[in-house]
């Protein structure tokens, strides 16, 4: 790289000001287990986790209790199941009190945790169990039937079942479980050989022994997590995140938040699933380290499910994605009595809409800062700074110790203000994809992670995502970014949501196609096109507008353009 490289100058340092340090010391704890153990000692008597059901019923665990129970689980893994350091343990459950116990127990045992989306189908489960080589699985009883179906096709030896109201007071837990099982019929019957989590903990406790013997040898370079990602390219790949990667990202995140996180005093609302890397690192790891109380909501859909959690607890922090904030802002109970103690809210996962951010800040009076990250980077790369001037519609500035630059197809930095692929280097980058050297070599080159996202940087060092490189549409040689078209579409009042993809076209190579969810049922395709013509140049105007009742989305609410593309492709193939 030559001397005029605008990214080497790190113009974002100007925005760090006095609030964010440019250099961070290497994280003091040798492992996440050591970090968790130290946090549990500092905050022993404080409540660490509270799970809140939609009707307000709840159960809690203190820091000391989480510490003791996760020690028991580590003993169970090592002494009862005879797992070895580095063995994989799959964890598949919605947000509930079992999650921190099992996750920390797995790490304390020196094992590697594999987060799995509980909504996966049996065949997706088979792929991840086999790919990761998981020896044990801890799964919520709601999906025991899928587990029983998947089990014979895997090498999984041990299944532990847990319940959503695990560790609730007995009467309350019994009611919640009975309602789920007999009323809502959510708990399927199965004839699988499985241990319940309380039995496993009991067996672990009976074995005795100091759990620290297994986690004390752990170092930064040891693997902590296989976090599956890359559904976008078809087969899910496991990003290898080490204890060091995650400890660094915790340190980077806490440096970015500075005094906005008050040790031992925060109450964070976790509505996003902990099996997703964003909530895992930001809500779970950072906030546990900070001695916060974590309010876990098993299912944020419908968004009404959050009402009792927000009413009954003094929430100071929350994280979410655009759809979640949008949902909250359409609830009267939220806008009429917004939580009073919110210090800040974080958004990520997918681009936040301008109108949603503005409305949220107006309603709560707290900043909603947007960030950017990937599973491959533990995940945080950039965040809007909490102090100083924020640039709307941006992903903010790189976290400390993180280098970001924008490059062209040849890997050379693009000039300031020009769009280029965002590449990252920093201590939070994964070691690679589990057992996939080719896939790893594609994204990790010379220590840089090629994100596949196209961004621009301004002179202050603020980054703005233009679009996914893969989603870019090439219309007669012109680059069209779907985000820009979607943004134009959603500015029309009658449009609730929109997705834009490119479809093969004999004349222009690719053509722009828009999928629109109407707010106003009377809206016509002609009206949509007329509106587009007022905002966009000719080649960006959709060749076709299609109306839908809803758009395909991921569990965290990202619109799945690839599914729409898939539909078009199958359709074209069928037509020959």
């Amino acid at each position: 790289m030559d001397a005029v490289d605008p990214y080497d100058l790190r113009p974002w340092y100007g925005q760090y000001g006095a609030h964010i340090p440019t250099d961070l010391p290497t994280p003091a704890h040798a492992s996440l287990a050591a970090m968790a153990s130290a946090a549990a000692q500092r905050h022993a008597a404080q409540t660490a986790f509270t799970t809140v059901m939609p009707n307000g019923m709840y159960g809690s665990l203190s820091y000391a209790k989480v510490d003791a129970l996760s020690d028991d689980f580590a003993r169970y893994l090592r002494q009862v199941l005879r797992l070895q350091a580095g063995d994989r343990v799959a964890i598949q459950m919605p947000n509930c009190l079992s999650y921190p116990v099992v996750l920390l127990g797995t790490l304390k045992a020196g094992c590697v945790a594999v987060n799995i989306n509980p909504l996966y189908t049996a065949s997706e489960m088979v792929h991840q169990f086999n790919d990761s080589g998981a020896k044990a699985v801890v799964i919520v009883d709601l999906f025991a039937d899928k587990m029983a179906q998947a089990l014979p096709q895997t090498a999984v030896k041990h299944v532990v079942l847990t319940r959503v109201p695990e560790f609730f007071p007995p009467v309350v837990g019994g009611i919640v479980h009975a309602v789920m099982k007999y009323w809502n019929r959510l708990v399927p019957a199965h004839d699988m050989q499985a241990t319940t989590l309380p039995q496993a903990l009991q067996q672990g406790r009976a074995g005795g022994g100091d759990a620290a013997q297994w986690w004390r040898p752990l170092r930064h370079a040891d693997l902590a997590l296989l976090q599956y990602t890359g559904g976008t390219t078809g087969v899910a790949k496991g990003a290898m995140l080490t204890h060091g990667n995650l400890l660094w990202n915790v340190a980077q995140m806490r440096a970015m938040c500075g005094s906005h996180i008050d040790e031992g005093k925060e109450v964070v609302l976790t509505a996003l699933p902990l099996y997703h890397i964003f909530a895992f690192t930001v809500n779970f790891l950072c906030m546990f380290d900070a001695g916060a109380r974590n309010i876990l909501v098993p299912s944020p859909r419908p968004v009404q499910n959050l009402q009792r959690a927000i009413e009954n607890y003094r929430i100071t922090w929350l994280t979410g994605v655009n759809t979640l904030y949008n949902g909250l802002l359409s609830e009267e109970w939220f806008t009429a009595f917004p939580p009073k103690h919110i210090k800040a809210a974080g958004g990520g996962g997918a681009a936040m809409h301008h109108a949603v951010v503005e409305r949220f800040e107006q309603v709560t009076g707290a900043p909603l800062v947007e960030g950017y990250g990937l599973t491959e980077s533990s995940p945080v790369v950039c965040f809007q700074p909490l102090n100083g001037q924020r640039t709307r519609d941006s992903i903010g500035i790189p976290a400390p110790m993180t280098e970001v630059r924008l490059v062209d197809d040849a890997g050379a930095p693009v000039p300031l203000g020009q769009p280029g692929e965002l590449v990252v280097r920093g201590p939070q980058l994964m070691q690679g994809y589990w057992q996939r050297p080719e896939a790893t070599a594609e994204v990790l080159r010379d220590g840089w992670l090629y994100t596949g996202d196209v961004a621009v940087m301004d002179e202050r060092g603020t980054f703005r995502i233009v679009d996914r490189k893969k989603d870019m549409i090439l219309v007669s040689g012109f680059n069209v970014y779907p985000n820009e078209i979607e943004d134009a579409l959603t500015r029309l009042d009658g449009v609730l949501e929109a997705a834009v993809i490119g479809v093969p076209d004999t004349k222009s190579g690719e053509a722009v196609r828009a999928y629109v969810v109407r707010r106003d049922p009377a809206l016509t395709a002609d009206a949509v096109l007329a509106h587009c013509r007022t905002l966009l140049t000719g080649y960006k105007i959709p060749a076709r507008v299609e109306f839908r009742d809803e758009l395909p989305k991921t569990p965290v609410g990202k619109i799945l353009r690839r599914e729409l593309r898939g539909e078009v492709m199958t359709d074209m193939k069928n037509k020959g």
Binding site: V52, P169, V172, I175, E332, A336, F337, V568, D571
Partner: protein, 301 residues
């Protein structure tokens, strides 16, 4: 007739039921409801406008003797029954609206019940009138557990939610208990009772369903909310009426006045169950139609 012990037991059970009802709502829910009072207002109009008038007209049309007329009018003037919330849940109705209507009608009962009762029973002979003090006293006594229930909810969400559930279950149990203990002892009376009394007991609830639905549709509530309001309007607090009668009358007079509230409680469980099954089907069909619309749009793609 119901014994002294049974009356006391009923009183205690009513308190638990009201405790549970109070625990089903938070103070914030109220504040939110009062910001947009249309839903609650429609509910109150149905509860204290429609139902007492309906009871009065039924009593006139069927030319009921004073004892039965007063029982029917008392039934019509009652606030919403807590069992309506269970039926709203089963029928896939708007549960929050149902709970809110029940609680609101119960809280204003202390003013509205004596007023409507006095108004519609003007023409009834003095000895058959329900003493106003008794009504106020019972309602006041029940208001206390309602407010305590709300306090419990605020103090501890777990205790509140458990109490709420207990109260709801007890609501059903009390009606079964009333019917189960009363019918065998009075089957002769049931056989001797004429058509007008049965028509009044069954008709009050059914007409309440129909008119509640018609009124809320007229006032531009969507079909699902309207079905909820219909159930809420038709289902009155039967056990409360029974308790008031037990405390206001004695001997054969008590037995006669009690007839319609008991029969109403018996039949409302049956008619609500039937209506619930029907409503549930309609809601399910609407949901399927919405899904089909989605699949249709996908097929077009």
């Amino acid at each position: 007739m119901l014994s002294e012990t049974e009356t006391r037991l009923l009183g205690v059970m009513m308190m638990v039921i009201m405790l549970g009802m109070g625990a089903s709502l938070t103070f914030k829910d109220f504040a939110i409801a009062l910001r947009k009072p249309v839903g609650v207002a429609i509910g109150l109009v149905c509860q204290y406008g429609l139902m007492p008038l309906l009871a009065f007209l039924l009593a006139k049309a069927l030319a009921l003797p004073p004892a039965y007329a007063v029982g029917l009018i008392l039934m019509g003037c009652m606030p919403g029954g807590t069992t309506s919330n269970i039926f709203a849940y089963f029928s896939k109705g708007t549960l929050s609206l149902s709970i809110l209507m029940t609680v609101c009608s119960t809280l204003v009962a202390i003013v509205m019940v004596p007023l409507t009762l006095a108004f519609y029973s003007q023409g009834i002979e003095g000895q058959w009138q329900v003493p106003r003090e008794n009504v106020i006293q019972v309602l006041f006594v029940l208001l206390v557990p309602t407010v305590i229930g709300m306090g419990l909810r605020r103090w501890n969400a777990n205790v509140g939610a458990v109490v709420e559930m207990l109260g709801g279950l007890l609501g059903v149990f009390v009606i079964v208990f009333l019917v189960g203990s009363w019918v065998p002892r009075n089957y002769q009376l049931l056989l001797d009772t004429g058509f007008p009394v049965y028509a009044a007991s069954i008709g009050l609830g059914l007409a309440g369903f129909v008119l509640g639905y018609a009124l809320s549709r007229t006032l531009r509530q969507d079909p699902r909310r309207s079905r909820t309001i219909a159930l809420e309007t038709g289902i009155q607090n039967g056990p409360l009426a029974v308790l008031i009668v037990l405390l206001s009358f004695t001997g054969t007079q008590q037995q006669e006045v009690l007839l319609i509230p008991i029969l109403y409680s018996l039949f409302i469980v049956m008619s609500s169950s039937a209506v619930t099954v029907w409503f549930r089907r309609i809601t399910a069909r609407e949901e399927v139609a919405r899904d089909a619309a989605k699949i249709g749009s996908m097929a077009r793609a």
